[in-house]
Symmetry: C2
Subunit: 232 residues, 2 copies
């Protein structure tokens, strides 16, 4: 927390991608304001991971907001739709899965924008990724570009300071293996992260949901050991 560092808001889910994104933002010299959401996700245990990561990385502040996404529904992550298991990577790449949460990144980025405005930050980091994963519309570069344009018109800072807001997406074109190698290089402790969409009551990763499969393949492709223990 050195004075006069540029501030950045970093969206921190507690997963592998956002932990790596946070490390990248820190490595670029930003003072980190980490933002997480309790949104009725069935894997709310990821918030424990987010807290551990924020503490370990010495962020300036970690804010966890309650948002009512479960009242809106429409996703396997926030309602009773079953989380799919053991799907092939071809299937993953072809369809938007039921774990897609309607407009989630748009909502999360909008809170990040509000917080950025209040603390005087002009940089937001989000760990979206198009390559390994699976057709979420709000992870695509054209979506991020459109969001950034809208955001630069949305706030007092944009109007008065003429300082444009930048949405940083350092992982957007990395493979999962590439992300993991980058994170290990920056000292990310992946034991602290949680990726599983459908953990056991005690918090163990299922090993079979889309998110577990991508993570396991990522570590394998990176030639690294995944420190997480899986149920299957």
């Amino acid at each position: 927390m050195v004075k006069n560092k540029r501030k950045a808001v970093v969206l921190l889910s507690g997963g592998l991608d956002s932990a790596t994104t946070l490390a990248i933002a820190e490595n670029k010299g930003f003072e980190i304001y980490a933002l997480s959401f309790r949104y009725g996700q069935r894997h709310a245990i990821e918030l424990k991971a987010a807290r551990r990561i924020a503490r370990t990385q010495h962020v300036a502040r970690h804010l966890i907001l309650d948002v009512d996404l479960d009242k809106i529904g429409g996703s396997a992550l926030t309602s009773n739709i079953k989380v799919p298991k053991n799907r092939s990577s071809e299937v993953l790449q072809k369809n938007i899965p039921v774990t897609y949460v309607p407009a989630r990144n748009t909502i999360f980025l909008s809170y990040a924008l509000a917080w950025a405005e209040v603390i005087g930050a002009h940089d937001i980091f989000i760990g979206v990724n198009v390559l390994d994963y699976s057709g979420y519309p709000d992870c695509r570069p054209e979506y991020i570009a459109a969001y950034q344009k809208m955001a630069s018109l949305a706030t007092k800072a944009g109007v008065e300071d003429r300082q444009k807001l930048k949405i940083h997406t350092p992982l957007i074109k990395m493979s999962k293996a590439h992300i993991i190698r980058k994170g290990l290089e920056l000292g990310v402790d992946y034991r602290l992260t949680h990726s599983c969409y459908d953990p056991s009551p005690s918090g163990r990763a299922c090993g079979e949901c889309d998110s577990c499969l991508l993570r396991r393949k990522g570590f394998k492709d990176a030639g690294a050991v995944d420190p997480v223990r899986y149920l299957k």
Copy 2:
């Protein structure tokens, strides 16, 4: 609630503008899904007004979401900054006031987008207005256009159906007097609405905040009687 009507999500604060917007959307033949927010606003009494309006107008559904804007702060409406009183209309038109809530419309529209996606709506109505009011950046037409572009890239509907989302802003270039005349023509009962930023504990409008001043002037210019009773 006739079948096969097109659905629209309408942002309903409980104020004069959103009540009029809702009536306009209904008049256009949409089935209305009204969306309100409890966001730590000091004038949370407006939600009572929103409920009354939703009931009177027979909306298909009225959803009130809790959002944590007060944790982010930065506005007289969600923190202890004093609400300004008795300001001249020149002042109102020149500066972004302390009642501006950072990124509020961006956050509200993002929830509307999520709900629209879940219920299969492609139309969102918001009662923003640039003329009478006062430099809120997220009320300007260029902001709305950029939001609409972003939103059409953000969702599964946008990707799969190629059906573009439309953000309707029927009031955007109307004066307050024009809005009131339009609402009266459509049968809006303005007794049900609440505009004051700083009501008394019993819910009476102060009569002196920016919002009360604009409302009073609007009724006067429209040659109509404001059914709300003011403290001063």
